[in-house]
């Protein structure tokens, strides 16, 4: 499995039957492939509908997901305008929002919409999603392509929100943010030391976290190439 697949699979386990879920573009869109049998979720698409499903048949130019890709709508879906879409998002009617991140920190702050002077795509719906969703999950690779840490003591890029992130899922570990960063779970074969070496932020280790002390970081690949990949 690629790191992305590991992440998507683990995020899928965060979702409960009946959850209304908004998935960011990119990695999060893989998540539905990994849902356990018996877990049916309803996908909300910020551009204006519920019941987002895979494309079946011919692409309809008027039916796209939030990334602009052709998609389908499942039975029981509903279309609405952007005000209603964000009333649902901001109003707490979306149970889970899964987004990517450039940086996330131990106070639950998130940065994912701009790199000053370099790239300013804009926040789109991200600021509303993190503000309104009941459970905000950051799904991202643990480090940047250059091996720099993305889980920081304090975000350095312009923020998307302050203190709204609840959970971070990477290919190495799962963190909860609860008065600081708590390491809750390690991927198979990953040790606490492995995670510390790739994480700038200090974190406590949760009681149920099983340390794979003797691990060799060969399972997931993406970070094995960046030992001690700190910023």
């Amino acid at each position: 499995m690629t790191p992305k697949e590991i992440i998507a699979r683990r995020v899928a386990r965060e979702l409960k039957n009946g959850d209304v879920v908004n998935l960011g573009i990119g990695l999060p869109t893989l998540i539905p492939n990994y849902l356990e049998p018996g877990v049916d979720i309803v996908l909300q698409s910020e551009n204006g509908f519920l019941g987002l499903g895979p494309l079946f048949g011919e692409a309809d130019p008027c039916l796209v997901n939030a990334g602009g890709q052709p998609c389908g709508i499942l039975p029981g879906g509903a279309f609405f305008d952007s005000a209603m879409s964000f009333a649902l998002i901001r109003g707490g009617h979306v149970d889970v929002s899964v987004l990517g991140a450039l940086q996330v920190d131990s106070q639950g702050n998130l940065a994912n919409w701009m790199v000053p002077g370099k790239k300013v795509p804009g926040m789109g719906g991200a600021m509303d999603l993190v503000t309104g969703a009941r459970h905000v999950i950051i799904a991202m690779e643990h480090c940047t392509k250059d091996g720099a840490a993305k889980i920081l003591t304090q975000c350095t890029l312009p923020l998307t929100c302050v203190g709204k992130v609840h959970t971070i899922v990477t290919e190495m570990a799962v963190f909860r943010i609860n008065n600081g960063l708590v390491l809750e779970e390690l991927s198979p074969g990953v040790s606490i030391a492995d995670v510390r070496s790739c994480t700038e932020a200090a974190f406590t280790v949760g009681p149920d976290c099983i340390d794979h002390v003797d691990s060799i970081t060969e399972h997931t690949g993406s970070f094995s190439a960046t030992p001690g990949g700190k910023r």
Binding site: S45, C62, T131
Partner: protein, 218 residues
């Protein structure tokens, strides 16, 4: 009151320096014929309000590429490299607004509201220069209304009274913009007689629509 006009008649309505709202999400649900007429018309120094700047060849993206826009208010510009280039070159002012806030600000403009209080953007660059209010121990930004001189929107079908229904995810910002401009021009794929749209399924009531243009087949 015949609201139906030709694309030729539309052309004369756009003036330099106007504020234009344009429906669509990444170009889906944008009035392509009206955008083309706006480009043909030659109006420049426009302020454009739109969810995003679409793509260079699609939706409002074409206005950016043709350098008609001096100010863009949008939530996302990542899909149109020309927008970022003009912004960095200081040829284009871009005001980024969270998408839900953009929707509410346009809705306020159409609904006669002076603004809304939203938590979205608190603690970020978005709060710069804005009034903050604390209510029930939560800090909110006061976000102000947006209106335009002309809104150009896209619908699937209109009756001659201007009642509109939209198509799938092409609905997006169109129904909000339909209330928020001094003149609202809709481009539709299909025009039917008044009374042919079930009053229960009308999304935008005809009274807010000034002009209807039937899309040309490409």
């Amino acid at each position: 009151m015949n609201k139906c006009i030709s694309l030729q008649e539309v052309k004369g309505l756009f003036k330099d320096g106007m504020t234009i709202m344009c429906g669509g999400f990444l170009g889906v649900g944008s009035p392509e014929g009206l955008v083309r007429e706006l480009i043909n018309n030659g109006a420049k120094n426009l302020t454009v309000i739109s969810n995003d700047s679409a793509f260079p060849e699609m939706g409002v993206g074409q206005l950016i590429v043709n350098k008609r826009v001096v100010k863009l208010i949008a939530s996302h510009i990542g899909t149109n490299p020309e927008t970022g280039r003009q912004m960095i070159a200081n040829e284009l002012e871009v005001i980024l607004v969270p998408q839900g806030t953009l929707a509410e600000r346009i809705r306020c403009g159409g609904a006669g509201l002076g603004g809304v209080l939203t938590e979205t953007g608190i603690g970020t660059l978005v709060e710069e220069g804005k009034i903050k209010l604390v209510s029930n121990s939560v800090k909110y930004l006061v976000e102000l209304p947006l209106r335009a001189d002309i809104a150009i929107i896209k619908a699937k079908k209109a009756d001659r009274a201007g009642n509109l229904v939209y198509e799938k995810s092409a609905r997006n910002f169109n129904p909000l913009m339909a209330l928020a401009a001094d003149r609202v021009i809709v481009e539709v794929d299909e025009l039917v007689d008044t009374g042919e749209i079930d009053p229960e399924t009308v999304v935008t009531p005809g009274v807010v629509i000034d002009n209807i243009v039937v899309a040309e087949r490409y």
